[in-house]
């Protein structure tokens, strides 16, 4: 009997927590619906919430939405891989060879100030509208975070671990030292850099598609604004947010698995 009450109490606690979280979104949806119903704002500015769902339905049926999502995702992935694939080895090399670091530090600090978006006009001039532009832009967005984090990962290795390895016979600047001590130690930093790069890269593909592509979620937002389909604009925004979230979540799980030897990682 007592067990039932404990369970009941916990259940009520849990559900009240969930309910509290749902109040505001529900409220917003209701207000949105009412505002639209009473035509407080012109349809152009505020599409009806149900229209957004219909748009999702419509575009799913004719496959358009999947076409756009697939294109966005594909370009994003390629650009991300290129960016990270270049950044991590470069960062590790710069961290490992002190001389390189001294020569490049200021230049990197300078270049990283540039917002990813600022690369778009240059990309347009060089590659025009199309996939290459997207790869370039996403790549640039995804470059600096892993680069800097990889450099830090190598430089911040615990000196005691290096000394312990030296004591056990490893030569200071050897490949063995790098492979067995430096690199494993740097992995958490690298993963952090890669996760940050993900956010920037996803933002990058949206920006790139708004200005330099002819399909994809980013294009969908901008084009539908011009074609006066506000419900599709909102739909695209929601999908962009959702995809971004899912990708980030996936990477977070991968990171957790790779870092299982670390005690208590705080998010």
């Amino acid at each position: 009997m007592g067990a039932f009450f404990t369970w009941y109490y916990k259940f009520m606690q849990k559900s009240s927590q969930i309910l509290l979280r749902l109040v505001l979104p529900a409220l917003i949806l209701i207000i949105w619906y009412v505002l639209n119903r009473n035509e407080v704002y012109p349809e152009i500015m505020l599409p009806a919430p149900q229209d957004v769902f219909f748009a999702l339905w419509e575009l799913s049926i004719n496959g358009d939405i999947f076409y756009h999502i697939w294109n966005s995702f594909q370009r994003f992935l390629i650009g991300y891989v290129i960016g990270v694939g270049l950044a991590v080895p470069t960062g590790l090399a710069i961290g490992w060879f002190r001389a390189l670091d001294k020569y490049t530090e200021v230049t990197i600090t300078f270049l990283r100030q540039l917002p990813g978006i600022a690369w778009i006009p240059l990309a347009l001039l060089w590659f025009g509208i199309g996939n290459t532009s997207s790869y370039f832009i996403v790549g640039m967005n995804a470059f600096f975070s892993p680069l800097i984090n990889s450099i830090a990962g190598v430089k911040d290795v615990d000196k005691n671990l290096v000394d312990a390895a030296r004591n056990l016979g490893v030569k200071q600047n050897s490949w063995f030292m790098f492979k067995e001590v430096i690199f494993p130690s740097a992995v958490p930093h690298i993963m952090t850099g890669m996760r940050i790069a993900l956010t920037y890269a996803w933002g990058g593909i949206v920006a790139a598609e708004m200005l330099a592509a002819s399909n994809g979620l980013g294009w969908m937002i901008e084009a539908n604004r011009r074609f006066h389909f506000p419900e599709r604009v909102v739909l695209a925004m929601v999908l962009i947010g959702l995809c971004g979230f899912l990708i980030d979540d996936l990477l977070r799980r991968i990171e957790k698995y790779l870092n299982r030897w670390r005690a208590g990682i705080s998010e």
Binding site: D158, D163, L168, G169, F176, E180, P184, R260, W261, A263
Partner: protein, 266 residues
């Protein structure tokens, strides 16, 4: 001819942030025989760790020399195993993999590595924990793992840098006895080791060693060398021996004024 000879060693270093120049060792002389268990006590920050690192070959001397069997020390070597105060276990490797590490460096094959490391895992009483990661171990267990990692390479010299400082008093007493047991077992197995043990606990030093060196405060020299005339094996009864208390008192009176003035060292 002494096995380990430290002659006139001086060591200075600059503090990274304040660029202050600090003289840690100022003419340290010591002679240690093969197979001896020698402790070094001294006030905090006096340079005990620095001396160990110099003997290990991890740091260079500015003056003087360290010779082992008449050969000068020239860089680190697994033959002079250093046990760090914070263990320095590789957190991404399991207990097993940590212990095997020295063997891996020397190119020993995987199968041989496993059998050798198994032997030492048993020696330090870590059986059953082979696949655990360091963060899953208690302080005492981490220390055992670090010790096994060194022993697996059969070093002739063990340099212990306050290994039990971060461990609670009860576990510490147990580990002290364990260390002596292991030292003895290795000796009987034909793997005699010379041990230099740094600690700030006089009782620990007296309990463990054949001889205790007292280090002065910074810039350090060896102030005194005291023979420990207690029977082996050392047990709980050793501490009730009146000679024990006398030796502790003698060492403390030597160290007290150094310790008092060293409190103000940054």
């Amino acid at each position: 001819m002494a096995y380990i000879k430290v002659e006139g060693v001086e060591k200075t270093f600059t503090k990274p942030k304040s660029k202050e120049v600090v003289k840690a060792l100022d003419g340290v002389d010591a002679e240690i025989e093969s197979g001896e268990f020698v402790s070094i006590v001294g006030p905090s920050g006096c340079g005990k760790s620095t001396l160990l690192r110099v003997i290990a070959g991890l740091d260079n001397v500015n003056q003087g020399s360290v010779t082992i069997e008449s050969k000068e020390v020239d860089g680190p070597d697994p033959d002079r195993g250093l046990l760090f105060q914070d263990y320095a276990l590789f957190p991404w490797k399991t207990v097993e993999e940590n212990i095997e590490f020295g063997l891996k460096v020397r190119g020993v094959k995987k199968n041989d590595r496993i059998s050798i490391s198994e032997e030492f895992i048993e020696l330090v009483n870590l059986k059953g924990f082979e696949k655990k990661y360091p963060h899953e171990l208690s302080g005492g267990m981490k220390q055992r793992c670090a010790l096994a990692r060194l022993l697996a390479n059969n070093p002739k010299i063990l340099l212990m840098d306050e290994p039990l400082a971060a461990i609670d008093a009860q576990t510490r007493k147990i580990l002290q006895e364990e260390v002596l047991e292991i030292w003895d077992k290795e000796k009987k197995a034909g793997r005699e080791k010379t041990v230099i043990w740094v600690t700030h606990s006089i009782e620990e030093a007296v309990f463990l060693s054949d001889r205790v060196l007292v280090m002065s405060r910074r810039p350090a020299t060896i102030k005194e060398s005291v023979e420990i005339d207690l029977k082996r094996p050392r047990t709980d009864e050793t501490e009730s021996d009146p000679v024990f208390a006398k030796l502790c008192a003698q060492l403390w009176s030597s160290m007290k004024e150094e310790a008092a003035s060293a409190i103000l060292d940054t």
